[in-house]
């Protein structure tokens, strides 16, 4: 039976159910248990935003606190994965990828290839992304495209509680390194989630809404923004089809292309910086493979090419919203050759 739980609870439940099912699953990261010196059970933090809360108590010895040394503990997780465990390591903010990036892109991502398929690296790096939490330039970035660039990594960006649980279970069962990107503004958003375990396959986009006039491809938190825009546009007779890729590597290009072949128009919404981004990547794929279907120039709705500002008013301006998305849709629909 499905019941309504938050994105945070869905992630916690996925971890607990996989730890229950498979003794090789371990969890590690900064404050994931309770922090050095704390009694560690009742008052455990469960990570900076409480996602792993309660697991330390339920799975003694399998939830590890780590030092503030990402290079060391991400490396340890990668090594443990090659040695037979299925570690889920928490990189507190995606912004901290810089300090442990070698372990991810030049080690974990390469093992299967360099050892001729004889080695697998079933590690999951859970990490928080996105703007909106007033956390300033060093804790608000959307760096998914950097990981997506690298062959050998899978990159997952759930937009809702149901997807978060099913995609995390798939991530843990997957034999390749997975970057599991949790949008920090979605943790308290609830949705219907089955109590039972389930896995959502990678590379299977979700059609969130059907419509014949414009395809909106939106990622992470932007899916809900696109839904708000589509609801408003429907009242003026413009029907949007919203595609949520769910995983950006692999990317379900077939579903995106099929949708654009039906609608003839594409708007891509991603809050990341605009250059060399998921938005430009998706736009290029459609321009190359569905050029004949396009009836208007592809519209990109992204953050600007700046760091994420700390001032509330400027951060709000940075993030795409329903009005900006609706504006881009109107530009596409109103376009005349």
């Amino acid at each position: 039976m499905a019941r309504s739980i938050t994105y945070r609870e869905a992630i916690n439940e996925a971890l607990a159910q996989e730890m229950e099912r498979d003794p090789s699953v371990i969890v590690m990261g900064e404050d994931n248990a309770g922090g050095q010196g704390s009694p560690g059970e009742e008052d455990a933090w469960g990570g900076v935003l409480g996602v792993t809360k309660g697991l330390y108590h339920r799975f003694p010895g399998r939830v590890l606190d780590t030092p503030i040394s990402e290079s060391a503990f991400i490396g340890a997780a990668v090594g443990a994965a090659t040695g037979g465990l299925r570690p889920v390591a928490e990189l507190m903010f995606i912004d901290f990828m810089g300090v442990c990036f070698d372990q991810i892109f030049n080690q974990a991502a390469k093992f299967r290839y360099m050892f001729g398929g004889k080695a697998v690296t079933p590690v999951v790096v859970r990490t928080m992304w996105g703007a909106g939490l007033r956390a300033a330039a060093q804790h608000s970035q959307s760096l998914l495209s950097v990981f997506t660039h690298i062959p050998g990594l899978k990159v997952v960006a759930p937009s809702n509680a149901y997807d978060a649980k099913g995609l995390l279970i798939q991530s843990i069962r997957d034999d390749d390194p997975v970057i599991f990107a949790e949008h920090k503004m979605l943790y308290n958003v609830a949705g219907d989630v089955p109590e039972e375990s389930y896995a959502i396959p990678f590379g299977e986009a979700n059609i969130v809404r059907e419509g014949g006039d414009v395809t909106i491809v939106a990622i992470g938190r932007m899916v809900a923004m696109a839904q708000d825009a589509a609801t408003e546009l429907a009242s003026s007779g413009v029907e949007c089809e919203i595609v949520d890729p769910r995983t950006v590597s692999p990317l379900d290009t077939d579903t995106i292309l099929e949708s654009v072949e039906n609608t003839g128009r594409l708007v891509v919404v991603d809050e990341a910086n605009p250059r060399c981004s998921l938005a430009t990547d998706i736009a290029a794929t459609v321009a190359q493979d569905a050029f004949g279907s396009l009836r208007a120039p592809i519209q990109l709705v992204t953050g600007p090419h700046t760091p994420v500002p700390f001032a509330d008013s400027l951060e709000d301006l940075f993030i795409p919203d329903a009005a900006k998305i609706a504006g881009a849709v109107k530009t596409a629909v109103d376009y005349a050759r």
Binding site: M1, Y162, G166, P194, E196, S197, Y198, A199, I200, P201, E204, N206, I207, R209, E210, D254, T255, E258
Partner: protein, 360 residues
């Protein structure tokens, strides 16, 4: 004082998950006199569109719900009252109905929730609506669940208890089907009746569920008041094995959606939500194995039907009704057997009102 002569046509609850419905088209107008059972309005849910038959008869005084309106279950759609009731009294009911919609109070009433019961080591999910009468139990088909009776259970439950259940491996029941044989599944249905304290019931089964209840009647005829088999498995050898095997194997929307079109005479009934709900079911741990196991009960290696339902029913002294959708592409209706309604394989969804009439 409530005037008992004033009756209300309300938004029905077609299935557990239905929270709102959208008014598509009215077939009647203010001033028309309708009989109970007349088609009054087409309503679209997020799963499928259906036609509401009026639960009441009389003169339509007001139609409140405009086409296009999305209204919660229980919202008053129209007011029926004899001409001698004063306009002011009818309008008072209209105002009250609009206030109820505006207040949001209707959305909070979740209605009856499904229950769990242990049956011979299986956890079975079920939902009973209505009370009294000789109970009716509805059994879904391969890959279906209790929600497939969304248009049938509520109207049928107006004057009797009607129970829907999820077979093992399906819906919210556990996903262990054992050997998946007809006898095993029939044993669960019989055990389910016992667990609920139902001595004797009218059994209604769709597709695989039809063969399951036939096997149940053979094993325990004294528990079965009647059998109604809707597009039942096990009549003739032909089946759309490509659909059955494809459904069991599909993991993506792009694989599943074209297959689901074959279930209906009108393929446009396959909504995004219907596909999504089935994918959510198919992703649950254990479902792939359950479906693969039950598939062996349905099909031979040569892709013909493995079940012989008429043989099961030989010597079973229970009234049997068989109904087919005339455009069934999954299990083609055999010549000369049973009645026909205008529908595909999912006749209990596509021609629900005809099926309700058959069952009354």
């Amino acid at each position: 004082m409530a005037d008992e002569r004033i009756q209300r046509v309300t938004m029905p609850k077609w299935g557990l998950s239905m929270k709102t419905g959208k008014i598509v088209e009215w077939f009647v107008a203010e001033g028309d006199t309708i009989a109970k059972g007349d088609d009054v309005v087409d309503i679209e849910t997020d799963k499928i569109a259906g036609t509401l038959e009026s639960p009441v008869g009389g003169l339509i005084r007001r139609i409140i719900a405009e086409p296009g309106a999305d209204l919660p279950v229980g919202a008053v759609l129209a007011v029926v009252a004899p001409s001698e009731v004063a306009d002011v009294d009818v309008d008072a009911v209209v105002e009250e109905a609009k206030a109820a919609i505006a207040s949001g109070a209707l959305e909070e009433d979740e209605g009856p929730q499904p229950q769990l019961v242990e049956v011979g080591g299986h956890t079975i999910s079920y939902l009973t609506l209505g009370e009294g009468g000789e109970p009716v139990v509805l059994v879904h088909g391969f890959g279906g669940d209790k929600n497939s009776w969304l248009f049938v259970q509520q109207p049928l439950s107006e004057d009797r208890a009607v129970t829907v259940l999820d077979l093992p491996g399906h819906g919210a029941s556990d996903k262990d089907v054992g050997d998946g044989s007809l006898d095993t599944l029939a044993g669960v249905v019989i055990g389910f009746l016992d667990a609920l304290g139902i001595g004797r019931a009218h059994l209604v089964g769709h597709s695989l569920g039809g063969a399951v209840i036939a096997a149940a009647a053979k094993a325990a005829p004294d528990k079965v008041a009647s059998l109604t088999l809707l597009a039942p498995a096990g009549y003739g050898e032909q089946a759309d094995a490509e659909y059955l095997r494809g459904f069991a194997a599909a993991t993506s929307r792009r694989e599943l959606k074209p297959l689901l079109g074959r279930l209906f005479a009108d393929e446009s009934l396959v909504t995004r939500q219907l596909v999504d709900d089935l994918l959510r079911y198919k992703r649950l741990d254990g479902v792939d194995k359950a479906l693969a196991t039950v598939l062996d009960t349905l099909l031979t290696d040569a892709d013909t039907q493995a079940i012989d339902t008429p043989a099961l029913l030989e010597g079973v002294d229970v009234p049997v009704t068989v109904v087919w959708g005339e455009s069934d592409r999954i299990l083609p209706p055999p010549d000369g057997v049973g009645e026909r309604v205008a529908a595909g394989h999912m006749l209990h969804m596509e021609a629900a009102n005809d099926i309700v009439r058959h069952l009354r």
